[in-house]
């Protein structure tokens, strides 16, 4: 929340909201990987996703926040829960939670942390002139323009976007074929 980025727009809320949401996201993120009970993990993941949605709102990106809630919290997580509920919880809770390659995991985490730190350090010099500060009223349109284009012109990401949707379609068909024995 650098006020300098969003020139002319009032801050959505006080920085305390940011700290609150960030803390919620981090804590529930930790709960996701430490809870033995899979349903608890899933619920914690939902809290993480909602906190992140809140962060998007603070960044004047309501569309992304809305999509985050609909797709992840409302859709995917419900399916997650659906699947998890069919699993025998008692058996799972007796199994080992972490596998043996934790050193590699630790290494990866350290690398990620380093990446974050460098991004944070260099962020100010990297991003300001590349981020287009969009006021809330038009950034949904902005996303649309990038994805679909406007005034007869193809958007910046139209092709990539369509490729992604095609990929998803293929994935769906694959899933159907794999599960259905005869069509």
């Amino acid at each position: 929340m650098n006020p300098a980025i969003n020139v002319g727009a009032a801050p959505v809320a006080t920085p305390w909201f940011f700290y609150g949401l960030a803390a919620a996201a981090v804590i529930s993120g930790l709960l996701v990987i430490t809870r033995r009970n899979a349903v608890h993990s899933a619920l914690a993941l939902i809290v993480t996703l909602l906190s992140v949605a809140g962060l998007y709102l603070m960044l004047y990106a309501p569309f992304v926040a809305g999509v985050q809630i609909i797709v992840y919290a409302g859709g995917i997580m419900v399916l997650f829960l659906f699947v998890i509920m069919l699993v025998n919880i008692e058996r799972v809770s007796k199994e080992r939670q972490f596998n043996r390659i934790w050193p590699i995991g630790l290494l990866a985490s350290c690398a990620l942390l380093a990446l974050f730190l460098s991004a944070f350090k260099k962020g100010k010099s990297l991003f300001p002139d590349r981020i287009i500060p969009l006021p809330e009223a038009t950034n949904t349109q902005g996303i649309a323009a990038m994805l679909y284009g406007e005034a007869g012109k193809m958007g910046q990401y139209t092709f990539t976007f369509e490729i992604a949707s095609l990929l998803l379609l293929v994935a769906i068909l694959g899933a159907v074929i794999m599960t259905k024995k005869k069509i």
């Binding site: 569309f63 809305g66 419900v78 949904t140």
Partner: protein
């Protein structure tokens, strides 16, 4: 603080957009109280009475005249009832599940536009927010079913999650086709804002229900079916199918927690009805706002709220007169009479406000804009008109919910899924594509 309170009166944007935090708080409180009360008292009573009369029964008759106080008695009973948490249940999740459902159901009301400025917030992504948050309601049901650690609730939860995820797709597509229609505005851009959608209908001079006939109607019907499924009401009440799963996901719940589920269910019913009204039935707009405009028409339509209450009061008085003349019914007779008087008093106030609004409008056309009381009356008149027409339309939907429940048997799970995926989804997709094509041609 008082300045802030007064200065906002008559504002044309919702308080959150005006940055008026005091009014945000007031609105939230009003909406929360009003929704809880309508759900707890009015809808509960109407549903029981209407259902009873469908089924050649009388319904509640004892607590209060014609059972008017029955919902309060029930609420009291539920609050005092022992709150049982099963021994094997996952206690934390069990405790939290109804809260999730309730939160989701009530958060939605933030963006529901009862009028152009009668909403907490006019969000840019209003409809998206609404669909997203209302889809979180299923989490309450799923976690409740799982946390009960019992077979029937688990099956209810499984059914409910599958059902909601499936019907959300058709629902979303139907909504998108209405959103497409907003892009035919004179201004040329569509909107996701709930207020913007209603305004688009006003600007285009047609409810989206009738736009591109029958495309708007198809989308509306799809939504109207999907919203019944989303709220787990008959004939799609499989997650709580009484005769199959005893009570589905809330089998193990009792007392206050159970009543939270009921509250959430009814609040969600009102919320989805509000979406339908906003998207297709012109939201807060009164009938024919463009054809029949002018002070006289405004006045005639502004009499409706007052006249409705006159009708309610008349019903109450007729009931008072027809009450059996027996000492046993004395309290009830007096109570109903007082209730009628209260209604008549409300009717009087509403009529005064509408007349005051007419006078103010007449003043405004002839001389300088009115101030003081007259201005306040005009403002109230306008606001009451908006809220009245909006709630009237929502009421129709609420009544339909009850009607469905009295008439239809319950679908089976596989049939429900088949309808969701094989009928509703293609039809709504087709309607969406057709709407887009027609829209491009028209534009």
């Amino acid at each position: 603080m008082i300045d802030s309170f007064l200065s906002y009166l008559g504002s044309t944007v919702p308080p959150a957009n005006a940055g008026n935090q005091l009014w945000v708080l007031i609105y939230v409180l009003i909406i929360f109280a009003a929704v809880s009360l309508t759900v707890m008292w009015l809808i509960n009573w109407v549903e029981r009475k209407a259902l009873a009369h469908f089924q050649v029964r009388l319904g509640p008759m004892r607590v209060g005249p014609h059972g008017l106080l029955q919902p309060f008695a029930d609420a009291l009973k539920l609050m005092l009832k022992e709150d049982i948490i099963p021994d094997q249940a996952d206690k934390a999740v069990f405790w939290f599940a109804p809260v999730i459902g309730l939160l989701a159901a009530f958060t939605v009301y933030i963006v529901i536009p009862f009028g152009p400025s009668q909403a907490v917030s006019d969000m840019n992504i209003g409809i998206l927010f609404m669909l997203g948050v209302s889809s979180l309601g299923v989490l309450g049901i799923v976690t409740a079913g799982w946390a009960s650690n019992s077979h029937y609730p688990l099956m209810g939860a499984l059914r409910s999650s599958a059902q909601m995820v499936s019907y959300e797709v058709a629902m979303g597509l139907a909504v998108v086709s209405a959103i497409l229609m907003t892009s035919l505005n004179p201004s040329g851009t569509g909107t996701l804002s709930m207020i913007g959608i209603v305004e688009a209908q006003q600007q285009q001079g047609i409810w989206f229900l009738f736009k591109f006939f029958p495309l708007g109607l198809i989308a509306f019907v799809i939504f109207a079916i999907a919203m019944v499924a989303e709220t787990n009401r008959a004939p799609f009440d499989l997650p709580e199918a009484e005769s199959e799963l005893t009570a589905g996901f809330h089998t193990e719940y009792s007392g206050l927690r159970w009543s939270l589920f009921m509250l959430a269910e009814y609040a969600a019913m009102m919320a989805v009805s509000s979406i339908a009204v906003t998207m297709w039935l012109g939201g807060w707009l009164r009938p024919f706002p463009n054809l029949m405009h002018g002070p006289t028409w405004d006045f005639i339509f502004s009499l409706f709220p007052g006249l409705s209450f006159v009708a309610f009061a008349a019903f109450a008085f007729i009931g008072t007169v027809r009450m059996p003349k027996h000492s046993y019914f004395k309290i009830q007779t007096v109570g109903l009479g007082i209730f009628g008087l209260v209604l008549a008093f409300i009717a009087l106030i509403l009529l005064v406000i509408s007349i005051g609004g007419y006078v103010a409008q007449a003043h405004a056309t002839t001389g300088p804009s009115p101030t003081g009381l007259l201005k306040a009356l005009a403002t109230f008149n306008e606001g009451i008109g908006y809220v009245y027409w909006f709630l009237l339309k929502v009421t129709i939907f609420m009544y339909l919910f009850i009607w469905y429940r009295a008439t239809w048997p319950r679908y089976r799970f596989d049939q429900l899924m088949k309808i969701g995926w094989k009928v509703m989804l293609p039809v709504s997709l087709g309607a969406l594509i057709a709407t887009a094509i027609v829209g491009v041609i028209v534009k």
